[in-house]
């Protein structure tokens, strides 16, 4: 950490950081993917960062989860370690280079989950004090029933920690998931004011949500670098002699 450790809100970096938050099944990843497509088509240099993405740390997290050897405290710390690696390697360098960084889940995921697991809310906020403050943090607000339908319809079985089975809310995994996620929603709602999360009504159509997201993002992009590299379509039309 040459130059010392910078704290939340104190980083001065030329890039932009947009993050999405929300419970599983809120559709946030779809929205982020669509945002990235648009940014790329507009010529912005984008970089993508997601939860549990540091290879070395991910290994420990995976093993800990598989063997169910994580306590609320080690669960919290191992995710913070993974996040620190994302920050140091995947987020700060592109932001320094002036890129647009898109992150699927950010510190607010940890704040919600860890507090529901019984970890002190002050402690976990202090723990993540090294995080870069996002340019805009979107929160995809979804009623639990809507999210449950999306999840139970399409994906594999609900996982042990995702359902909060480790804190013994219920013996039944689906019931535990419901109870756990509803507490997560309560935590997110508290954070809307605390951190100025931009709430998006995720019950609306995908297109309506994306239009709103793009509008907010484009307002925050003034002065951001665009790529000088032409897209292949331009090159293809050049090759044809088109002057368009």
């Amino acid at each position: 950490m040459p130059g010392g450790m910078k704290m939340y809100g104190k980083h001065r970096l030329p890039g932009r950081l947009f993050i999405v938050e929300g419970i599983d099944g809120s559709g946030k990843s779809t929205q982020l993917m669509l945002l990235q497509k648009w940014l790329v088509s507009e010529g912005y240099v984008t970089s993508f960062s997601e939860w549990n993405s540091s290879p070395l740390v991910r290994d420990v997290t995976k093993r800990g989860k598989k063997k169910q050897m994580l306590t609320p405290m080690t669960f919290s710390l191992i995710h913070a370690t993974d996040f620190a690696d994302r920050i140091e390697h995947g987020i700060i360098p592109p932001l320094k280079a002036g890129a647009v960084v898109l992150a699927d889940r950010y510190i607010y995921t940890a704040f919600a989950r860890d507090v529901v697991r019984g970890v002190s809310s002050k402690w976990v906020r202090d723990l993540y004090a090294f995080a870069v403050k996002p340019t805009v943090a979107f929160y995809f607000r979804t009623p639990l029933d809507v999210a449950m339908k999306r999840i139970l319809g399409g994906r594999d079985a609900i996982k042990y920690y995702e359902a909060g089975m480790d804190i013994g809310l219920s013996e039944d995994i689906e019931e535990s998931f419901r109870l756990f996620q509803s507490r997560i929603i309560d935590e997110y709602e508290k954070m809307v004011d605390e951190f100025g999360l931009v709430a998006i009504d995720a019950t609306r159509s995908i297109e309506e949500q994306q239009t709103e997201v793009r509008k907010i993002v484009s307002e925050a992009l003034t002065g951001t670098k665009k790529s000088k590299v032409r897209r292949w379509l331009d090159l293809a039309s050049l090759a044809k002699g088109s002057r368009k």
Partner: protein, 241 residues
């Protein structure tokens, strides 16, 4: 009896009143003989009928192996490394130290959060932030700081270099003299960070400059005072006098 407490915002779902044992920490830079003293103390305490758990850094079941790899690969940044160590420590605290204390063991630990904080500070981490992060740690019953002054430290470092630390640190890839300078410089820096913690955390300083035969009896006597206190407390009421 004072009992245990956390430094800051503690671990969830731990009943501190259940912890009956004693937590004794040995701290100090490299080359002060911590592990020698730990093994002597363990033998001595066990001979006197106490159950002892000895434990050290980066050995947790959860992260120990990967942490060692990370250190060798130098791929992780300073904040990431600090938090990886904190994870490893939390795993040992919850799965080794606390269960042993609950069972009435005397826990001897070779280094504790102080070494972890000193190393992280030297690598640029914010001291205030580290204090908050390690708020979940238990306050020990005693912290013995085996201390060497800079000259003695350098002598010990010179003695031990060329063997374990030299190769383990991958410093053999560099020019010998630069490697030495860097190693000595690093140890001095750590020493100054430890010295700053003496008052903040209530370290008991043990002069480690003499031979083991001289240092150990002093350390043993100090440990005895803490352990005897346990023995008196555990006697039935009325039988103490």
């Amino acid at each position: 009896m004072a009992g245990f407490s956390f430094f800051g915002e503690g671990l969830p779902e731990i009943d501190l009143a259940e912890l009956k044992g004693k937590l004794i920490v040995l701290e100090g830079t490299d080359g002060v003989g911590r592990s020698t003293h730990i093994s002597l103390l363990k033998q001595w305490l066990e001979n006197h009928g106490h159950a002892v758990l000895d434990t050290g850094m980066t050995r947790s079941a959860l992260a120990g192996k990967r942490l060692k790899q990370a250190k060798e690969g130098h791929t992780l940044g300073g904040i990431t490394m600090s938090l990886f160590y904190a994870t490893d420590f939390a795993d040992r605290l919850e799965n080794e130290i606390i269960p042993a204390l609950r069972a009435g063991f005397i826990v001897l630990t070779d280094r504790y959060i102080y070494s972890l904080m000193a190393r992280a500070i030297v690598r640029g981490a914010d001291p205030e932030w580290l204090r908050e992060v390690y708020g979940f740690a238990l306050k020990p019953d005693a912290i013995f700081y085996l201390r060497l002054n800079t000259d003695d430290l350098v002598t010990r470092v010179l003695q031990s270099a060329g063997s374990f630390d030299y190769w383990e640190s991958g410093m053999d890839l560099h020019m010998g003299e630069d490697m030495y300078d860097s190693f000595v410089h690093y140890q001095r820096w750590l020493l100054s960070e430890f010295d700053k913690m003496v008052d903040i955390y209530g370290f008991e300083i043990v002069d480690a400059s003499g031979p083991v035969e001289e240092v150990f009896p002093e350390l043993r006597d100090r440990v005895m005072r803490i352990v005897d206190a346990t023995a008196i407390e555990s006697r039935p009421v009325g039988s103490a006098g």
